[in-house]
């Protein structure tokens, strides 16, 4: 082991056997290539789970709204009502089904601020709660029950500034769904981090393969070698040892905590040294790297729910909110969300959003720019790997695959999806 690996090693044994529900055998990836499974998953998982659709800061005042296209699931409007409550409804007119809220391109999402929504087709109007307020030439209709007319409601709840919707008829409350361990997230000052960068990538691969690609730290010396060391043999020696991570599986959600480098000490202006074609010099100059800024903003004391595994050089906690949201809280005072929206068995959209405390000066602003650019350069390297995995799996030339101990989140995640589908199908069979 290298000096770095020795410093981070904990001597913990294997993680997977600690979890009774996990075996250690080979796995099938049929759940990522079968069109039938994809349809079943959409019904059992996406139509019945709480789905994150945006931050509360997107709705700063009553009357503000945004729309979301949840591909294959729903087209919805999320708005803040006059009483301040955030609610959601299907973006569908009660008259003839026209999409009510859109600008220029019906397929695209939109946002804005208004008192009422007006359908572009025949001028029906709706309040910020989705109820009809005006029917054009109402007297020409036959027995309209105007009070019952509306854009159909969608269950919508907020937690820690994250807005979720649920397309089921009668879902469990969001806080019940999240459970005690995730409710602790409420202690984090997400609301201080309003400097927002967002990115979205179409990926020709199953959404679960994208989740897999960021659930283990086995791949960095290969996929991200050039960032670590051009010599792969050296890169392999510069990653933290597997036993330095921390895992917690609280079904259906899960967590991993990751080590990371400490920030550089403060330095006087003019001491970055002579310019060099060396990325480490760029990191020193701008005082930031993939793991965050060297000048960490003061956001108050670290809430106790973070780094429960007491990692010595803690980098971040990655909370996986089932099914498709990862909230990463970084030691250096910022957070990132990943969201995965399936479109077909072999296609999804991957959203990355980064949130920082607004920068006080150019140095802080540039540090954030470098963190953002580093994150996307790394993510770009992961994306094509996902597409290559989809290609390989879909041949079915191999049908059994092998997960190591540090890939336990992958083992667990696919099992949770499969179990959710099986439970739903069992309920369906019983009811019919």
């Amino acid at each position: 082991m290298t000096e770095l690996q020795q410093r981070l090693a904990t001597g913990k044994g294997k993680f997977t056997p600690l979890y009774e529900e996990l075996d250690t055998g080979p796995v099938s990836y049929e759940d990522s290539i079968s069109p039938e499974f994809f349809e079943a998953e959409r019904e059992a998982v996406f139509r019945r789970s709480w789905l994150y659709v945006g931050r509360s800061e997107r709705l700063p005042r009553p009357g503000t709204f945004f729309t979301r296209e949840l591909n294959g699931l729903a087209s919805i409007v999320v708005s803040r009502r006059k009483d301040g409550v955030v609610n959601a409804f299907h973006n569908v007119c009660a008259h003839r089904g026209n999409k009510v809220v859109w600008q220029e391109h019906p397929q695209e999402e939109s946002k804005g601020s208004c008192r009422e929504f007006a359908c572009k087709y025949h001028g029906w109007r709706y309040g910020l709660d989705g109820r009809v307020t005006h029917v054009t030439n109402e007297e020409e209709f036959f027995g309209l029950d105007k009070d019952a007319l509306r854009m159909p409601p969608v269950h919508c709840e907020e937690f820690a500034g994250f807005i979720f919707v649920n397309l089921a008829d009668d879902p469990v409350p969001l806080r019940t769904y999240l459970g005690d361990r995730l409710l602790e997230l409420e202690a984090y000052p997400f609301d201080k981090m309003t400097q927002h960068y967002g990115f979205s990538a179409p990926i020709r691969g199953n959404w679960k393969l994208a989740v897999d690609s960021v659930c283990e730290w086995y791949h960095p010396p290969y996929v991200h070698a050039r960032f670590i060391d051009k010599d792969i043999a050296k890169a392999e020696k510069m990653v933290p040892p597997p036993d330095s991570y921390h895992y917690d599986l609280f079904t259906p959600h899960m967590l991993t905590s990751v080590p990371g480098p400490p920030p550089l000490p403060p330095r006087e202006p003019g001491t970055a040294g002579a310019a060099a074609r060396d990325q480490k010099w760029v990191y020193r100059l701008f005082r930031a790297g993939l793991f965050g800024p060297d000048d960490v903003p003061d956001i108050g004391p670290l809430p106790e729910f973070l780094n429960k595994g007491k990692i010595k050089s803690w980098g971040n906690d990655q909370f996986w909110l089932f099914p498709n949201l990862s909230v990463q809280i970084w030691a250096r005072g910022f957070y990132i969300t990943y969201t995965y929206w399936p479109e077909a068995v072999d296609k999804h959209t991957y959203d990355i959003d980064l949130y920082f405390v607004p920068p006080k000066n150019a140095q802080e602003r540039l540090a954030q720019e470098l963190i953002v650019d580093s994150t996307i350069e790394f993510a770009m390297q992961d994306v094509n790997t996902i597409e290559a995995t989809q290609q390989g799996l879909s041949t079915r030339a191999n049908r059994q695959f092998h997960l190591s101990d540090q890939e336990l989140l992958i083992r667990k995640f696919h099992k949770t999806v499969r179990d959710t589908v099986a439970a739903h199908q069992a309920r369906d069979a019983k009811e019919s």
């Binding site: 960068y197 990115f199 003019g270 150019a362 580093s374 390297q381």
Partner: protein
């Protein structure tokens, strides 16, 4: 050539950074997407030239800009800041990948859905 400011001078950067003027037209761009497109449109040697021109002035530029209000930047200050954003984007190509595009990234791309105004 680069644009001329409203007050009619040839430099569109703060006076002490006027020597960086040749880089303004291509690299002082307000959005990340434009900066990334520019990186992909250049030959590797052109990226090296840009990096080698900006990097030695970067620390001085950061110090200069630190004295300015980010929410009320003059146009010439904003352009200098944008040159530094471009330097960061180009640094990966020059120092990490030795080519404009990330190796093996194929057709992969990220659309920008949100970014700060400045």
């Amino acid at each position: 050539m680069s644009a001329v400011t409203s007050i009619g001078t040839a430099s569109t950067l703060p006076a002490r950074f006027a020597d960086l003027e040749p880089w303004v037209a291509d690299w002082a761009r307000p959005t990340r997407q434009e900066r990334y497109d520019m990186r992909l449109s250049k030959k590797y040697g052109e990226l090296e030239e840009f990096y080698d021109a900006i990097a030695p002035r970067a620390e001085e530029a950061i110090e200069y800009l630190n004295g300015r209000d980010l929410d009320d930047l003059a146009d010439d200050d904003a352009r200098l800041l944008q040159l530094l954003y471009s330097m960061i984007l180009v640094s990966y190509a020059v120092n990490v990948f030795m080519q404009p595009r990330i190796p093996d990234s194929g057709a992969a791309f990220f659309n920008t859905t949100a970014e700060p105004a400045v």
